[in-house]
Symmetry: C2
Subunit: 438 residues, 2 copies
């Protein structure tokens, strides 16, 4: 909004003496809706179904405390010192063991440790995208990815999904349309498992087809897989990377399988790409925090991390069940949603005439918060959708939150019947992620 040459849209903005100095890319940087309402939404009486904060209560804090204390006492001079931008070698080896659970045979040299997988996403976009380049992404897509693409002035073209994830035919059509327009596609960004925000999983039989389409058109695949090990019946799906190591850049994270606050993620990239990533990461942060990498490495070496993931899975399954049963019980006719088989999110479509973005302030007044659908699209769609995150609140709170949400929607429907469609604020394109909406 504050790009050079563009007038400030709001009165307050014109008070910024630096207005004419900002880079053009800042025009794409806008705060998420939920963040603007954060002061209210974070009050304890509000049930937040908006945030993507993992449930940590199951972590073994006592033994972690002992391990981390010991790490500092015995290895503190390493843990508190600069490391390489590439990442701690031992951790990179362990990351390969984690990825092996999804059929990936990666080499530790090709793993780059990042400050959360958000940084991996930012670095991948940095090395591949010039302004105006096209990125294909599911519609809807992860708000944090849209934020990174906007920061590098890449243009997102959404590709449709159904209950089996990304639709290959829609991918072909999107590619053809972009090619006809003479524009350059740099990569397909996809979350194949337990999609954020859509909750769906790319069917196994579609995976080879998606890879083949991208290869045929010279399009790189960026596979973002933070939830892959959180399938509720313990199933895992073969990663796209597992069958196409040369054309897939894989993003992984310990935020959902261990602890988000450590900010340890990674990129597994084809060898030549990996070199560029390390250089990009050096100019971004010099190196990821050594302490955090060693904490994760110790945790993997000394704890039953697979058992912990099972504990998480079970907790999230209970919460998913609470969300789905409450939706079934309370939501008005005309609403639809999916039943996710893993991950954190249910994607809800509300009855016609209800605008989820316009409704959000009223929902918060009714003590429930959610993420409205528009934040997950670059093209203004999503006003009839919303995302429910069931990861953080207790099942009881989830049920109460969904009940409140259903009442708010019913109120909106009454208003709509009486006065016509609710008026949404202008659509503002991709929004920045925040931990509360990520």
């Amino acid at each position: 909004m504050n790009a050079p040459g563009q007038p400030a849209k709001q009165g307050a903005r014109s008070l910024d003496p630096h207005l004419r100095r900002y880079a053009a890319r800042t025009a794409g940087m806008t705060a998420s809706e939920i963040r603007a309402l954060f002061a209210v939404a974070s009050r304890p009486e509000v049930v937040s179904l908006a945030g993507g904060m993992p449930h940590l209560a199951a972590l073994p804090l006592e033994s972690l405390s002992a391990e981390i204390g010991d790490l500092i006492a015995t290895d503190g001079l390493v843990a508190l010192q600069y490391g390489s931008a590439h990442g701690v070698p031992e951790l990179r080896e362990q990351i390969c063991e984690v990825m092996a659970l999804e059929g990936i045979h990666g080499h530790p040299d090709d793993v780059v440790v990042t400050v959360g997988s958000q940084m991996g996403l930012d670095m991948v976009t940095r090395i591949f995208c010039d302004p105006g380049d096209v990125v294909l992404a599911e519609g809807p897509s992860y708000v944090g990815a849209l934020g990174s693409f906007a920061a590098y002035q890449a243009q997102v073209v959404h590709v449709g999904m159904d209950a089996d994830g990304l639709v290959p035919e829609a991918l072909r059509e999107a590619i053809a349309a972009v090619e006809r327009a003479g524009r350059r596609i740099k990569f397909l960004y996809t979350i194949p498992n337990f999609h954020n925000p859509a909750g769906v999983t790319l069917a196994v039989q579609r995976r080879a087809e998606v890879l083949e389409i991208c290869r045929a058109h010279g399009i790189l695949v960026v596979e973002d897989n933070p939830y892959g090990l959180l399938g509720f019946d313990g199933q895992t799906y073969p990663a796209l990377r597992s069958t196409d190591p040369d054309n897939v850049v894989y993003l992984g994270s310990f935020s959902k399988t261990f602890a988000a606050g450590l900010r340890v993620g990674w990129v597994l990239a084809p060898h030549a790409v990996r070199e560029k990533l390390v250089l990009a990461a050096e100019s971004a942060t010099l190196c990821p925090p050594t302490l955090n990498q060693m904490v994760v490495s110790r945790y993997l070496a000394t704890h039953d991390w697979k058992g912990q993931i099972k504990t998480y899975r079970e907790a999230y399954r209970d919460r998913r069940d609470a969300a789905i049963s409450a939706l079934e019980q309370h939501m008005p006719v005309g609403s639809t949603w999916n039943k996710p088989e893993g991950g954190f999110y249910v994607w809800v479509t509300v009855p016609e005439g209800v605008d989820t973005k316009a409704m959000l302030p009223r929902a918060i007044t009714q003590r429930v918060a959610y993420a409205s659908g528009t934040g997950f699209y670059s093209d203004g769609l999503g006003s009839r959708q919303l995302r429910i995150s069931y990861c953080y609140p207790t099942p009881e709170r989830i049920r109460e939150g969904v009940r409140r949400l259903a009442n708010v929607i019913k109120d909106e429907m009454e208003l709509h019947e009486t006065f016509g469609p609710t008026v949404g604020r202008p659509v503002s394109g991709p929004q920045n992620p925040s931990p509360d909406t990520a």
Copy 2:
């Protein structure tokens, strides 16, 4: 080097199937010379005067271990969870107390915590620089800053220094030249205290003048101050930010005053700029690691951190003395250097005819490493300069390293007398930082 349309310069590069996909900005991403030689330079028999790794041996690891262990046990659910991109509020308050030591009256709201001050630098460049914008920086300047500027395709124009730091008249001339060329200057990047790599400090009487020049020309000042509290006689200088809060963005770091491996730095920015920084940081990493912020906050609250800085100062003064006395004892006639009053670095000019970049592999063969001067310039200068870092090796090792370095230089001079000038490799512009050369 691999920008679209440019041929690969090396055979190996052409094996990269992604060659035509990279963004134009990757052309500015090149590895530092020392990193290319890292496998050899990091051997224990090599004295490395190249790296900027702080000396950590003085840290109270036992009590840190106890504090961090307690932090996880009692506050682990917060420390291991996502936080805000803005940073932990308590730490932001403490950061204001740290900055007060240099005369800064900052508000915690205007502090943004970053993953090291490198990330602060990257974020500031992200929000201000479009490709082709000019950044003014001392010549020489910090290699990591040049790397970030290159990543955003900003063009660096160097401004001369003397023993009192940045020369105001040179600043005026540089501005005039850029303005005549019709180009846009976004900010002056400056390290006023104990400069990296030049070792000099901006004289107090020059500070107001530099600020005034920048204000008069509508140029923002980015003040990078990682070493300000490491003056050897305990003196601190008034920060540029202390007298010009509206036109200075200040970058701070705990890497040199506490522990680099935690990667905790910060930006203090004018209020309007701060909002943009938070949005940029969200798309870069979502949030800085919560654990690391809480560790620094606890450390500041429970340890004698000023006493620790005094301990560091004394250790670095001893090492500076070792470096200077060894230079005086061993360096051939025609060499010059400064005597830094704080920080980590001595900037050495070698006798005419010696090329420090060409000499580096031979120096490493002689078991001493340094950072050659060219990495600190964007314009190919610096081939007669080198940086000695005295922060990490013991005084004894420093003396031995300087002795070896002097011998290498003498050998080069003999070669030069016999065969003419040494042949440098082609100058490749700014290099990426790495912890070893940062």
